[in-house]
């Protein structure tokens, strides 16, 4: 890459502005896909581009190009400068950045089995065997799909303060999906395995078991019942509790939401807002978890932050922009979906800290409630403190025993009430890969969703007809 040329351009334009940084992303990878026992997709993807961010008189100007040759790179600098100059004349703003150390570093997640060491033939065989395993479970499986994704993401960060950071991050995913049909009754289930690993991740996972379970759960859902909703005790599995920690609390603890008074956590640092059973952590340093990184997209090192400590709010997550506004340091949460997208305050791996309850203990106390499993989506409402998660399925609990399998449900409620109504947190911690959206189209970043199982004394449950 033309790093020296780009550093020279940063020097050249720095005298006219307050700050410049450059992000270069290069992602190359492969997608393989099956459908109903046949290989349907062999696809290669390559994305490369460079984005320049110029801060001048409190306004940001951005220029980007996806062809990295010298004239186009310099043109992107000029375009960013002309855009920001037009803006500062017409609508001056007040953006500032916190003081942070400028690092020069090279980091990479070591993999034990590089993707290129495994032949395409072996990868094809792997996903076809998974697909066939799912189909073998029951003739009512009318759709079986496996997607294999591998990618290497190389990220370069340079800025006018002297930062020069290169990160090389591999990703691998296996996504399992089964559709079952009986008459007009259609049901689906899915599972996913992955993270910042090499091929060892799929070699070491119990792929056959996951495939079989995925198909069995789709089949089981054919007999799921719909029950009347209402308020009841809810035990969330690891995925639902992770979505809860992320959607209900995490977004509200992002400092840009707090600064815009767009968070129910505004002004509550140091206050007790939840039960003593519950602590919530955002940790970007968990080795190879899908939301982990070495440096954020502003060159600030990844960190572990206790956001909620035994019910007491300890602080917010920051980018350099929000940190300057609140007169603190960045927490290394400034992230963007790509080289040409806005850097927002974003979560990494956000989860409820483990408790000391066994799953059996959590269930045996419940007189009437449900256990919700898997997530098809979640929606935050950081302003109103509302929360909604759609679970893939649920099981009715009556007098401490599982009784009926229930169709997909939605659980919702008010965040502060839920945080105070958590009365048991499980011992087992499970983190799974996911993505998080913020802003508008395209602004997604890798995160994990997961945590321990969590019991809430009372929540609103909606059951679709």
């Amino acid at each position: 890459m033309e790093l020296e040329f780009i550093e020279n351009l940063i020097d050249k334009y720095s005298s006219e502005v307050d700050f410049i940084d450059v992000r270069i992303n290069k992602t190359s990878g492969m997608i393989l896909g099956t459908e109903n026992g046949k290989l349907k997709r062999v696809q290669s993807i390559a994305v490369e581009g460079l984005g320049i961010r110029i801060l001048k008189n409190g306004c940001w100007g951005i220029g980007a190009t996806d062809v990295l040759d010298r004239p186009l790179i310099e043109n992107a600098f000029k375009r960013a400068l002309s855009m920001v100059s037009a803006l500062t004349k017409r609508a001056p703003a007040e953006v500032k950045l916190s003081e942070e150390k400028a690092y020069r570093d090279f980091c990479e997640y070591k993999v034990r089995i590089p993707f290129e060491d495994i032949s395409l033939e072996e990868k094809k065989k792997l996903i076809l065997s998974i697909d066939i395993d799912m189909r073998k479970v029951d003739p009512r499986i009318i759709g079986s799909y496996v997607n294999y994704v591998e990618a290497i993401n190389e990220k370069v960060y340079l800025n006018s303060e002297g930062a020069n950071i290169i990160q090389k991050i591999p990703s691998i995913f296996l996504i399992f999906r089964a559709i079952a049909r009986e008459g007009v009754n259609l049901q689906a289930y899915f599972d996913v395995v992955g993270g910042h690993y090499g091929y060892e991740k799929v070699r070491e996972a119990d792929i056959t078991r996951i495939a079989t379970k995925t198909a069995e759960k789709a089949i089981e859902m054919l007999r799921a019942e719909a029950l009347k909703g209402g308020e009841m005790t809810v035990i969330m599995d690891s995925r639902v509790s992770g979505t809860f920690a992320h959607e209900v609390f995490g977004h509200a603890a992002e400092a840009d939401n707090v600064l815009r008074a767009k968070s129910f956590l505004y002004g509550l640092v140091g206050k007790k807002i939840g039960s003593e059973e519950v602590s919530i952590i955002d940790d970007a340093t968990i080795p190879q978890a899908h939301g982990s990184y070495f440096y954020d997209d502003e060159g600030v090192p990844a960190q572990r932050k206790i956001l909620l400590d035994k019910g007491i709010l300890k602080g917010y997550m920051h980018s350099r922009e929000t940190a300057a506004e609140m007169n603190v340091n960045s927490t290394g949460n400034g992230r963007a979906q790509g080289y040409d997208r806005r850097i927002y305050v974003r979560m990494s791996n956000t989860f409820i800290a483990q408790g000391d309850w066994s799953f059996e203990e959590m269930v045996e106390d419940v007189k009437h409630g449900i256990y919700v499993e898997g997530v098809s989506g979640g929606m935050e409402d950081p302003i109103g403190g509302g929360f909604q998660v759609n679970a893939l399925r649920a099981r009715l609990i009556e007098k401490g025993e599982f009784t009926k399998l229930l169709k997909a449900v939605s659980i919702s409620g008010r965040a502060l009430e839920i945080l105070n109504n958590i009365d048991a947190v499980g011992k087992e911690l499970l983190l799974e890969p996911g993505t998080c959206g913020k802003g508008y189209a395209g602004d997604t970043v890798p995160v994990t969703t997961g945590g321990p199982p969590v019991r809430v004394k009372k929540m609103l449950v909606g059951l679709a007809r």
């Binding site: 997709r41 696809q43 993807i45 037009a86 609508a91 909604q388 909606g462 679709a464």
Partner: protein
């Protein structure tokens, strides 16, 4: 310097040397975007992105590679990798052939030079004008974006398809906050158009701000089976993923659509007619051809509740022995099916008349993203902006409950449809009233 068409022609010429058939798509998009935060424009963005996608086919083996950046080295690298993947893929027995050139449709306008020619300064002024409107009414744009883009694309295949064109778009999304006393409420507006003159920024945002302000003070909703009026934004949220899934001909062929085997039978209320029209003047998805070069068409998909056709690409149409409906998407490999401009036919009443027909129910102008299960139509979504209806009149705002029903079932219980519609991206949706809708509280 080569342009989009030159790169496409070069890629096709080079790739066909080593395969039976080939298809090339090249695309460049120039995008300018303002971000608004806290009633300020503090972020302006310019980007030029380009992409090439090459699909090569030999003995029914297919290789596809998509790569960002249009340059000669990238063209050759893309072809080389596509050929390698083709050699390593399994034959697709369902693949017959790429399509031959067909007479393209006469379609309505899909390019607005005013978008291309609007200066950076004028774009910034549009953003600041919106802020003035919101500030004058004591609201806050907590987050917003206003984006103009111009795309040039070329689709070529080895059978002679050769289509190039330019499209424009204006997209805006705003998250608004309104407060009254100590109560706050959040509203969200999303719109996408092809022509600048269609974008009624100020009036759209005034409407959403008014709605947001009216939902700052809320009562707890009461549950039960209620008649509801869904505004166009709420209806769009329920239909945006479900209809494209359920009407997809590949899903129907593989028994994954809830309407598999229901062609020419009643699937929705007889009040409901749905049209897919890729020729619609100024439509968000309007273009002379679909994603594989088949002419765009206007067709009635659901006629007074009766399913008349599924949406098909050429690949699927050949399998089921009919003609393509011109709904090929741009994803590869095949099948790749997507709706064009999806029109829910309007009715003959005003929204006020829809509300006036309901004795006891809810008016729901907007819902958050609903995450409907497209297989079954089931969903539960939190009520955030809703109003009680009593004796045909809109009453107080309500919250803290869920609209919990089945989209496909609801479309069988339509009472009335409004005569006015709203364009939201590629959907054109009216307001509808629906009986016996389940509200959990």
């Amino acid at each position: 310097m080569l342009d989009v068409k030159d790169y496409a022609e070069l890629a096709l010429k080079e790739s066909i040397k080593e395969c039976d058939q080939a298809e090339v798509l090249t695309l460049t998009t120039i995008r300018r975007r303002l971000l608004l935060e806290d009633n300020k424009v503090n972020y302006v963005e310019f980007s030029k992105n380009s992409r090439i996608r090459v699909m090569v086919i030999r003995d029914k083996k297919i290789g596809v590679v998509s790569q960002s950046g249009l340059s000669k080295p990238n063209v050759y690298e893309t072809i080389s990798r596509a050929l390698e993947l083709m050699r390593n893929s399994e034959p697709d027995p369902d693949f017959e052939t790429l399509i031959s050139p067909m007479k393209l449709s006469e379609v309505g306008a899909y390019f607005d030079k005013n978008i291309l020619e609007l200066s950076d300064e004028e774009l910034i002024d549009r953003g600041t004008d919106v802020i003035k409107v919101v500030e004058s009414k004591n609201g806050i744009i907590t987050q917003g974006e206003l984006e103009l883009s111009t795309s040039t694309l070329c689709l070529l295949n080895s059978e002679g398809v050769n289509v190039c064109g330019q499209r424009t778009n204006i997209v805006y999304n705003f998250t608004l906050m309104a407060s009254e006393d100590t109560n706050t409420s959040e509203g969200f507006l999303m719109r996408g158009y092809t022509f600048l003159e269609d974008a009624k920024l100020e009036s759209d945002i005034e409407w959403m701000l008014d709605l947001t302000r009216r939902t700052t003070k809320v009562k707890k909703v009461k549950g039960g089976l209620l008649d509801v009026v869904l505004g166009p934004d709420a209806l769009y949220e329920l239909l945006r993923y479900t209809l494209p899934y359920a009407l997809n001909g590949d899903h129907a062929r593989k028994h994954r659509s809830p309407f598999t085997g229901r062609l020419n039978s009643q699937i929705f209320s007889e009040n409901l007619t749905i049209i897919d029209d890729g020729t619609l003047p100024k439509g968000y998805a309007t273009f002379p051809c679909d994603g594989e070069g088949h002419p765009m068409r206007r067709k009635t998909v659901v006629d007074r509740g009766i399913l008349k056709t599924f949406l098909l690409d050429h690949y699927t149409a050949v399998k089921v022995g009919v003609e393509s409906t011109g709904n090929a998407g741009t994803n590869r490999p095949f099948p790749s099916i997507s709706p064009t401009n999806l029109i829910i036919a309007h009715g003959n009443k005003s929204i006020e008349e829809l509300i006036g027909e309901i004795d006891k129910g809810l008016y729901i102008p907007r819902i958050p993203p609903a995450m409907v299960n497209p297989l079954t139509g089931q969903f539960s979504v939190e009520l955030r902006q809703a109003f009680r209806i009593e004796r045909g009149e809109i009453g107080e705002a309500v919250r803290w409950g869920m609209l919990s029903d089945n989209v496909y079932g609801m479309l069988n219980r339509i009472i009335s449809i409004s005569r006015t519609s709203t364009k939201i991206y590629n959907f054109i949706v009216p307001a509808i009233s629906i009986s016996n809708t389940k509200i959990e509280a």
